[in-house]
Symmetry: C2
Subunit: 178 residues, 2 copies
């Protein structure tokens, strides 16, 4: 992809919440926000370097144990300015959802195609597990519903759950129709 380097803003946003290391940021992408954006450490470390060169971040060295060093990054006022500007600007970029399975389905024209059941059931299993996991996360992180101090996080987790519910329902519906 040749996008607008959205990753930099997400990193700034995460660090704005509290100073973090590259490793911790990587974990955030795996856990909290992975449903809506992903990035590997090989993309994160160079981006941290670039953001610091541009003075949007600074870092302090930490030592854990005897000699294991790590950099904990903090956001600068310039970084905060960039972050709020990104949030404020209208989001026109409809990032393209890509779903390999759905494309495969598109090429199966006949409702009685013997491959359909297997394919749908395979996906159903995957999405059932995913839905369970997301529901667990939601009730674990927000047992009392929307937390007013973490509203954004609550909203996107809710979205993840209902999106996954839609996928699950759609697969079941499709199976009923064959």
């Amino acid at each position: 992809m040749a996008q607008k380097n959205i990753l930099q803003f997400i990193i700034l946003g995460l660090i704005n919440d509290h100073p973090q290391t590259g490793y911790e940021l990587t974990k955030s992408f795996d856990n909290d926000i992975g449903e809506f954006w992903s990035a590997k450490h090989s993309q994160i470390y160079p981006q941290l370097k670039t953001l610091e060169e541009k003075q949007y971040l600074t870092h302090t060295m930490e030592v854990s144990g005897e000699k294991l060093e790590r950099k904990r990054y903090s956001i600068t006022p310039a970084g905060q300015h960039l972050l709020t500007a990104w949030i404020a600007e209208p989001t026109i970029n409809q990032t393209n959802g890509k779903d390999e399975f759905v494309l495969k389905l598109y090429f199966i024209h006949d409702q009685t195609d013997p491959r359909l059941t297997t394919m749908l059931e395979e996906q159903l299993q995957y999405h059932t597990e995913k839905l369970t996991h997301l529901k667990n996360q939601l009730s674990k992180k927000f047992p009392d519903g929307g937390d007013p101090a973490n509203f954004g996080h609550y909203l996107i987790l809710s979205h993840a759950v209902s999106r996954e519910t839609e996928y699950y329902d759609w697969l079941n519906d499709a199976l009923k129709q064959i």
Copy 2:
């Protein structure tokens, strides 16, 4: 992205339905399958070339009007074999969902943040239009519900509609909560 070249299979699938030109393929990505995969012509033409070199496609020249030439690609038996193999193999999927707006939301912690309403309403307007458009498409292409001869197409359009409905409902829900 460094994926597994899924584009080649999609092109093979589209051409398998009927011989097509690069231009027509580009339109397919814009219209029918754009909700679940997208590709620009600058990606499609080189891929057609590669697929023909590998003997998965052949082409015949066509002339429209006086001198405007175009290549109409057909799938070869080898191409069909590759296509069916792709469809048959289990889809081990990490839905590469990236949504810039949702990420912006994540960074808004306070439920009373003055930016929330504007942001959500802006998205609501966009997704309302998109939902209307998709519903129109569905009732236009499949006025009598699931067509047994175009089942895959029906399924993915249904999915697009319910997915968009979920987004719409979620945004409305969020607005009610603030």
